[in-house]
Amino acid sequence: MAALLRPARWLLRAGAVPGLPLPLRLLAGGPGRPRVALCLPAACPGPAAGGLLSQARLYAIAAEKKNYLQEEPTSSHRRNASQFDWALMRLDNSVRRTGRIPKTLLQKVFDNTCHSGSPGGNQALLLLRSCGSLLPELKLSERTEFAHRIWDKLQKLGTVYDVSHYNALLKVYLQNEYKFSPTDFLAKMEEANIQPNRVTYQRLIAAYCNVGDIEGASKILGFMKTKDLPVTEAVFSALVTGHARAGDMENAENILTVMKEAGIEPGPDTYLALLNAYAEKGDIDHVKQTLEKVEKSDLYLMDRDLFQIIFSFSKAGYPQYVSEILEKITYERRYIPDAMNLILLLVTEKLEDTALQILLACPISREDGLNDFGSFFLRHCVTMDTPVEKLKHYCKKLKDAQMHTSALQFTLQCALLANKPDLAKALMNALKEEGFPVRTHYFWPLLVGYQKEKNVQGVIEILKGMHEMGVNPDQETYVNYVFPCFDSVKSVRAVLQENGCLPESNVFSQAELKSEAVNGNLDYILSFLESNTLPFSFTSLRGSLILGFRRSMNINLWSKITELLYKDGRYCQEPLGPTEAVGYFLYNLIDSMSDSEVQAKEEHLRQYFHQLKEMNVKIPENIYRGIRNLLDNYHVPELIKDVNILVEREKIDSRKTMQLTISDLESTLEKLKAENQPVGDVLKQLILMLCSEENMQKALELKAKYESDMAVGGYAALINLCCRHDNAEDALNLKQEFDRLDSSAVLDTNKYVGLVKVLGKHGKLQDAINILKEMKEKDVLIKDATVLSFFHILNGAALRGETETVQQLHEAIVTLGLAKPSTTISSPLVTLYLEKDDLPTALEVAIDCHKKYKILPRIHDVLCKLIEKGETDLIQKAMDFVSQEQGEMTMLYDLFFAFLQTGNYKEAKKIIETPGIRARPTRLQWFCDRCISSNQVETLEKLVELTQKLFECDRDQLYYNLLKIYKINGDWQRADAVWNKMQEENIIPRGKTLRLLAEILRNSNQEVPFDVPELWDEDEKHSLDSSPLPEESNLQKDLLNACQWKKNKDAYNIFLKAQNRNVVFNGETYNSLIKLLLTKDNFTQAMQVKDFAETHIKGFTLNDAASSLLIITQVRRDYLKEALTTLKTALDLEQIPSRIAVTRLIQACALKGDLESIQAIQKMVNGLEDSIGLSNMVFINNIALAQIKNNNIDVAIENIENMLTSGNQTMEPQYFGLAYLFRKVIEEQLEPAVEKISIMAERLANQFAVYKPVTDLFLQLVDSGKVDDARALLQRCGAIAEQTPIFLVFCIRSSRRRGKVLCFTC
């Protein structure tokens, strides 16, 4: 890495040349600098396994590059390329981490490759190469099978194999000791017209040697010689193995001499071949001798080589010698994956004991006591069916060696995952013996296994096993894992009884109940509850009941069940009593439903409440309030009154909250004072009111007057008021009085922050610090927003140049731990001096921050200023510090950005061309974002230009940023130039880049010269994820919080703040804010937010809920046209507006006589009526009303009559409710209409036997107090009296309004 720094140093050293301006001096060192050959550690191949893949990578990259040059970059190719990257990344990662590839991973990559269409040659190579020793968990034969499967499948898919593929296959054969005929192999290659190369011959020789066929090997060797191919060490090593396996150790040893004669020094590979040969014979003495010989020579055997010797000994049946080799192992950390690999291989070969021996020898840090290093071993033992006794022994060993904290539990988990019930049972027994709990859910995976095969006997066995182990199945066990195995719940009971595993407790009955409830079988539940004799508590039933209620819409059963629970002593024994129990039940029922569910079931719920009322069921008022809040949140306030009728009236709180004016309160206050009565409440109310009107003067006067009656709350409000008015003096006094009143009282966070701010601003530092201390002592909640406020306090002071304030407050905040030291919170320390142009101190402070807190605030700005001023020495100092503390690469980037920022592009170029520097995506993106937010087009252009050759640089991402800034400036010409440059550079743009480019061109009415790719979710997410600025996300979080707590003022203020700072949130946030503002009826503000969102977020739209609220608000304000537009927009976006919104809009239109709009709405929602929950009657009523309003009474009546009398009725007459129309007509006193409607209703009753309209009319007349008219109607049409069902509904509905008495005289 030192090489990295050299050029940079060069640059600066050159700066010592006196008399030259800095940029020129920097240049002076440039051209002559030596180019240092580059080898970064990360680029070097790791362990052999990794090395194998690294080769694959190099090959792959080369191949890809070639493709880019040859072909047009088509989209399918790009998909292949990314598919390849993905596969490579997955496999490479796995090898790096664990030294192996799990079979499932390879299978997954293989399947994915197949699905991708036609896999490229590089992908095939990658897959084939993975089928050898990288799969230690697979038996040798299985590995080769896998390789063949891949080979055949890919060939079928059209992959063209070259010699590299054949060689890869050979390597796999060798690693897997696969027996095959080399001549057949060669014939196969010839058939495919592939020329074998040197590597092919070498590997074929090795193949012959592996089976001890020296003759075969010699034939190939002769062939190589005729072709003048060089004979390498690999060939000699193979021959060593060959002779040894042929039983000729003497000749095996002789090969080394032959090699030397041929001028090739035996290397580690040759010695390893020899060592393995001895090991296979169990010849420990020769192994030791050879090892000593190697040690004495310059050669060096790695741990990995020694592992091979261990494997040879073990496999040949000489495990006794393993420990002697183990002693020689150095256990370098990088060989741990190799050790794991060996351990797994040994387990696969059923040599578990040796595997454990090696595992226990691994030097794993055991300090934290939470180490589970042995897991991979245990898991593989379970897979390989290691006997349970051995496993238990291993678990104990691992635990004793502190290699696993919960070995038995882990092994059990593996057994469960592998679905091995017998092993699992044995392990559970072992757990029990060791004193660990065996829990019910341990059996669930086993039950799932049998459940999938519908194996009833298996399930019974498990239940019996549970019983034996003393574990009782719980409700969940039955419902989720036992019942699904059977056809019906009933049959379970029978079968369990037969097998004697029906529990005596009522758990099973509860499970049955729950299971029926899930199916919405309320009949069963009712009959069960009626006939049940077991004691059940309401609470235990609650969950099941709620499920059942939500799945069945039979309101009668709802009510009956509730009544039973309310009145039957069996279910309400708990101390709560029926009122509370049922109250909570109702609360939970509604709580468990979603808002849309409650909205959809509004009518059902209403009926339910009314039926409960009829049954005299009551709930306590406090629970009612909870339900009320829920309904409010769900936007169904219409239901509140229906719940209210259930409230137990006896204990109703008579205190009313009245809206009083300030003067009212003042006079009340005086009066109370005069009467010597307590004034606390009124005083507080008055102070709060004055505070909300920002009347500080009067509030303070009031406080002075009633000092002795002041309470904590009043003080808190006053303190905050004074802070807002920048009145430090009074704020401090009030705070002191507040403390005297109650020293333990705590203000809320914002008030403390306000105090700190105002005190700091007025130089009352000690007081401010005391407040901070108090915050700490009283453990005030510090939110992200609080930390941000601290920053603004400090930054404000820094900009005002108040050194003391910044330093002391910062010190206090950080040492008290109110905020963690971060670049943000500490940046004002540096800002202080940057503002004063005191660069040496600014740098000093930044460095000091790093020493104290390991952060380097505003270093970029400091460097920029230093460069501007040409402070070479200080730059040197800064760079030395950064490179020492954060690495040379960081320093180079800092310098690069600073040069770019200050326009010293040539110097920037030198820096970024430093050999060994590589792309740091996050830093590059940071600078891009900075350029974009401050609209520095040229700087960004230069950045993109200068990083062209940067290693591993994501060019597409950089161009994407460039396009972003062009978009802001509407500069389509430059955007178009980017398109050309990208082609020149052979960059394949991502979808999002192309889309952005297309957008810019379209916005300027230019033609788009390419196919715009479809929007992919992934891309979209990616672009959203592109690291939002911390401030942005903080503000957004605050805003959402404020929305949650329904603090509309706070939320709106945050919005304004963000707007001032040009911070744009995501669409959802704006939607929440708009919704909140609309519910609070802040229409203008809501519209402001909407406008802002629409102009700043492309494609911003209101969501369903917000649109609906907007419609309601617009209707309320009589903006009907706008409401209609909102509805249309929502529907165009395929949103479903709420029923209330649509209904209110229609009703408003009708009252205006705006028939056209109603018909327009009818057309718009056509087909959506069910999803909105809109009855056709809404239209019929309101169209008629509109017509009547337009004096087209006859048309309206004719239409209705037609609908009710024509053959094709759209609506059953009993549901043809015209009550709304009648009521409105009566209310609006449209006498001629009332008369004609009355005639129509009577005619329908008398001639067509349709009684619903006349009954509705009768009831509406009664309801609006026109009793005489009603009586006359009843006399004319006696059948009204027989319409009991209609009356019933009406009575229920009107009884909730007020105690109305209906008298029928019939």
Binding site: Q409, T440, H441, W444, L446, S594, Q1044
Partner: protein, 95 residues
């Protein structure tokens, strides 16, 4: 599994603003009762949900705890290590 996690989340959906902690990396040996037991030391646990995947019989290592008050939640959040069945779980504020 995703579905059951969603269901868990939905069950506590209305808990926006309620004192709920989100726990990750729960060991497979612990279910909701173990979680409840552990968190009871910080206050009254109103709801505790560890959704199981009915297709495997295992949970996916996450759960939700609803306390009675914000203060109790803070108690729980302030403790650095939550070790359940010998495994360190991660606990996050959930909102």
């Amino acid at each position: 599994m995703a579905a059951s996690a969603v269901r868990g989340a939905v069950a506590l959906r209305t808990s926006v603003g309620r004192p709920v902690a989100f726990v990750r990396k729960i060991p497979w040996t612990a279910a909701s009762s173990e979680l409840r037991e552990h968190f009871a030391q910080f206050g009254h646990v109103r709801k505790c949900i560890v959704p199981f995947d009915k297709d495997t019989g295992f949970h996916r290592g996450m759960g939700w705890i609803q306390f009675s008050s914000e203060e109790e939640l803070q108690n729980a959040l302030q403790q650095e290590n939550h070790v359940i069945d010998g495994v360190k779980c991660l606990i996050l504020f959930f909102s």
